[in-house]
Each structure stands twice: as structure tokens, then as C-alpha cells.
Symmetry: C2
Subunit: 97 residues, 2 copies
DNA sequence: ACATTACTTGGCTATTTGTCCAAATTATAG
DNA sequence: CTATAATTTGGACAAATAGCCAAGTAATGT
């Protein structure tokens, strides 16, 4: 029962972390592009730089992304996770609200 | 592109709605119990009544649950959606933070 | 009619989240 | 050394969320 509760909390934590259009967009992109710089993600998502940086760092500190720094650039990628499947699930849910 | 954006917003909306331990617990239960009263959900989740009611009504107004009232009881159930799959996805993600 | 059970409502407060903006860092190019 | 490009940081503020509590409604049993 307590294990169950812990599981739910962990799941909720992850869901909360990804539950934002910009962050979902980032995840979706990283799912097939492997790794992208902040600049590239800026262009793709249309999100302002510092705000995007906040999102990325947030996802990184929560364990969903990792960074590789090269020159002046920071390349973000998914941390070994298949998070895209969550997006697919949601799509399949076909919840029409 | 705009369609894509709309999709992401919708997905984020749903994820935000379910991203809470109690709410996930409710969804998980309703996935196999079909429908449960507020009282039953209270016992299962250990959540206080009025708070649980808030959660349930919230999920209902956002289109994830539906209610059937019978006597003094309210029976909640999933609104035609396979939301449980999201939980399974998250579990499979195996994100260790 | 009255009490009880089951649920909802609304107000209040604390906390978290999202966004913006200006300043700071850091690496490279000239 | 200076300028520029790329990213991070931190403050400030509004809005959303979570939780608690007290009061309200509504159906049923006595």
C-alpha cells in the first residue's frame, strides 16, 4: 500500500514536470532529434530564451533531461527515458473536452 | 504547426489535470472498478471528504470523469477514457530521480 | 418533523508555478 | 582586450493550485 502510494507520488511528480505545452514540445522534439541546443529549441517552440532556459533547467534538475555543453552552446537531450510514449498515450486517449 | 500547438496544449491540460497523487489514485481505481462512490474513494485514497470532492468535481468539469447520483451517493467513473494507460506509460518510463 | 448520512460549496491561506525583465556568466571571434 | 553570441540567474509579480474548515444541501431512515 505504501509502495503504491510512493509510485503514485512519483508518477504525479513526473506528470507535473512535463505538463506544460512548451515542455511537452521539447520532449516531443528530443524524442526524435536526439539532442538540441537551447537556440534550436527556441526556434522550434517559439519560446523566449530565458523562459525556455528555466523550463529546461527545471526538467534537468528533476531528472528528465541532461545537458552537454560545447562552446557557448548547451545541448539538451532526454535522460534515457521514453517519455514520448506518454504523449502518444494522451493522444490515444482521445479525450474531447 | 498550429494544430501541433493545439495538441500540445490539450495534452498539457489533461496531464495537469491528472498530475496529483490522489487524482491518479482515483483514476487507477476507476480503471478496474468501473464506478465508485465518494465514500469508497475516500477509504481507498485516504483523502478527506471535501478535498476529495474538490478533486472529483475538478476532474469532472475538465471532462475526465462523469457522475451518477443515486440516493445520497455520487458514483464517479471514467468518462470513456483510457487514462490508466498514461500511468502504465509512466511506470514503464522507469525514470529514477 | 428530526437526525443522519453523503456529498458539495465557498472562503481563506500558504505554496507553487509561469512569465517577464534585467543583469551575470562563459566561450569564442576579431 | 573587447565585442558578441549563447545561456543562466535571480528578483518580482500575477495567477493557479492545494488543503483546511465551516456551513450548506439533499435524500433517507426513524
Amino acid at each position: 500500500m505504501n509502495v503504491e502510494k510512493e509510485k503514485l507520488e512519483k508518477a504525479a511528480f513526473i506528470l507535473k514536470t512535463i505538463a506544460h505545452p512548451t515542455r511537452l514540445a521539447v520532449i516531443a522534439q528530443l524524442q526524435d532529434k536526439e539532442e538540441l541546443s537551447v537556440n534550436e529549441l527556441m526556434e522550434i517552440t517559439g519560446c523566449e530564451q530565458s523562459l525556455l532556459s528555466h523550463h529546461l533547467i527545471n526538467m534537468k534538475t528533476k531528472g528528465l533531461l541532461k545537458v552537454r555543453k560545447e562552446g557557448t552552446s548547451a545541448y539538451y537531450s532526454l535522460k534515457e527515458i521514453n517519455l514520448g510514449s506518454v504523449l502518444t498515450c494522451i493522444e490515444k486517449c482521445n479525450c474531447h473536452m
